[in-house]
Amino acid sequence: MSFTRMMEGNEAAAWGAKLARAEVVPAYPITPQTELISNIATLIADGTMKAEYIKVEGEHTAMAAAVGASVAGARVFTASSSQGLAFMEEALWQPPGRRLPIVMCMVNRTMGPLGGLRPDHTDSLLQRDLGWIQLYCENSQEVLDTILMGYKVGEDRDIYLPVGVCYDGYFVSATATPTTVPDQAEVDKWLPPYRHEWYSLIPGEFKMPPPQSFVQMRMGLEDALQRSKKAIEAVDKDYKRRFGRGYDGLLEEYNCKDAEAVIMTMGSMTGTARDVVDIMRDKGKNVGLIKMRGFRPFPTEELQRIAPKYKALAVVDRNNSFGSAGGGIVSMEVARALYSVPDRPLLLNFHVGLSGTDVTMRQIEYMYKETLKAAETGKVRRVVDWVETHDLGEVM
């Protein structure tokens, strides 16, 4: 039976793992993911979920156990954050390289020593080069839905990629919003049991991918990621058809009709930005919002298609890449994607919400004002703007 109630992101994620019928969950607690795994432990203990929950002694082990279990034919779910993701880095290379469709929640938390427990996206973005699909969720509902979609995309025999379902610690993980949990039988009809065609460890049926050169393997991985763009969009549409909720695939344009100035956000701040856009539009401002849901594979083609509609595009980076070519990680990828587009918009880059500070409506409004100014004047005031350095008259 499907049901709806207020649910924190970590609980919604647990229900996602349960509905997906994850068979092996090797996990190690870390704030702000902890409730996710204790929720799974509870679901297993009370018989709601049937899975092997391995209480590993560290994240490095968690991902290795995940790899072993996935190769051995089990559907695997795990989760981590920040320092834990960094600790399992060595193992994080394995699933994409071996093409194992593990789904992992990356509950975003800033990296130490330059922050505490609150969210920014540096932790998951740090892992962007490995070959994981990365989808960024705005609320509890999207987390649950994206986990199911993650398995469907990842286990597609033409794809075979691991999926990182990323969501902000605290702002999503520990904030309750209305969440609909679909009916298990309906999910079972939509998501078949896991069967990897390339691997078997059963004696007598031993199977491993055929030997290839390392270059061939890398090209194969890159091709799979490129193919996954269509798969992500198709699965999203299919999920919407079946369960009534969709997320526009990799990029969503929100209230962008005739917009001159748009900002691009990732994660929970998107929810706040939606409200700001609506308010400013009511006041007659030509603003719009682009939600980047998929960071990997980077939606280059889609961005190249939609960006020329706008005069100025501001990328909001809730992350740091110290010493970079210019600004945050997302803005640099956007700049690269749009480099060859002749009528590309002016590009602005804002750092906000770093180390998990709140992203306020006033800050978003400030970003829109700057972007509108750029659209009007044809000039960008600051190439990279750390919004928190400005006193906007708020108590932060």
């Binding site: 002694e57 156990a65 072993g68 279990a69």
Partner: protein, 291 residues
């Protein structure tokens, strides 16, 4: 035809002859013996020792990640087999001394604590041989390696005892020089549910510096001098597998180039340590080791 006979044999013994290991390496010998004891319903997981070159030749399902993940992948494989109702398949997790005793010691300890239903084997050639003979925590005192050219200053880490302290069902030491004993221990481990640990010191002609033909002979000397005593710890109770007439430790040391630099005082120290250990083992034989 002889080659046909052998091709059939390699299928039977579950390992292809002609591994990439050095001539005389104890690694392939270990796996040849082990797979005969364990049989085909086995999955081997592991990485690390250059003895692993032998693992590329085995004919049972095999999977490896890196040597920093010893016991981890096996934990995942074991969970998957439980999920699929195939707990009848024996899962062996393999690591060298560097893997099991150093970089993955925490992993092995955790798997022991969780009482994972696997046989963890340590194939100990007493140094990081794969990367060109560097010291590991299990390199014996006084041994030459490229990172201890004047001889290792510290003692060999006693990993079997560390694992026994986790109160796992079965811990054993073994030697390729005593193959039937090794095989009996593996067969016993196969029938026990829970975490089993079997530690075998294997000869390395390349790293220990001796004529490959002497591989088994040197290994036998290790046991007969009580440098590498053979025992089991089953449910916490110590049981000596052999109590050989003790040969002086110099016989073992002189047979290997890696101990050539030892001074008189150091040899005496080694003999004293071996004697003390032997005394303790004999005193504890048949008794519970757990506190």
């Amino acid at each position: 035809m002889i080659s046909e006979k052998f091709d059939r044999r390699y299928s039977d013994i579950l390992i292809q002859g002609g591994t990439q290991c050095c001539p005389g390496c104890g690694g392939p010998l270990f796996w040849k013996l082990a797979l005969e004891a364990l049989g085909p319903e086995t999955i081997v997981y592991g990485d690390g020792p250059c003895a692993m070159c032998a693992l590329r030749s085995i004919k049972v399902p095999f999977f490896a990640i890196h040597f920093s993940f010893i016991a981890d992948g096996a934990t995942g494989i074991s969970a998957a087999m439980r999920a699929k109702g195939r707990e009848d398949i024996t899962i062996v997790s393999s690591g060298g001394d560097g893997a099991t005793g150093d970089i993955s010691l925490g992993k092995v300890s955790a798997a022991a604590e969780r009482n994972e239903n696997i046989i963890q084997v340590c194939i100990d050639n007493e140094a990081y041989m794969n990367t060109g003979i560097q010291k590991s925590g299990l390199t014996p005192y006084g041994a030459w390696t490229t990172t201890t050219p004047a001889g290792k200053e510290s003692n060999k880490k006693d990993v079997p005892l560390i694992i026994a302290a986790h109160k796992v069902p079965y811990v054993a030491t073994a030697s390729v020089a005593y193959p039937r004993d090794l095989q009996a221990k593996l067969r016993k481990a196969k029938e026990i549910k829970g975490f089993k640990y079997i530690h075998t010191v294997i000869p390395c002609p390349t790293g220990w510096r001796f004529d490959p033909a002497k591989s088994v002979e040197v290994t036998r000397l290790g046991v007969d001098t009580w440098t590498w005593p053979l025992y089991e710890i089953e449910k916490g109770v110590l049981k000596m597998s052999r109590k050989p007439e003790q040969k002086p430790v110099t016989e073992y040391l002189k047979a290997q180039g890696r101990f050539r630099g030892l001074k008189e005082l150091q040899v005496e120290h080694i003999q004293a340590e071996v004697d003390a250990r032997r005394k303790n083992l004999i005193a504890q034989d048949g008794k519970s080791l757990t506190i």
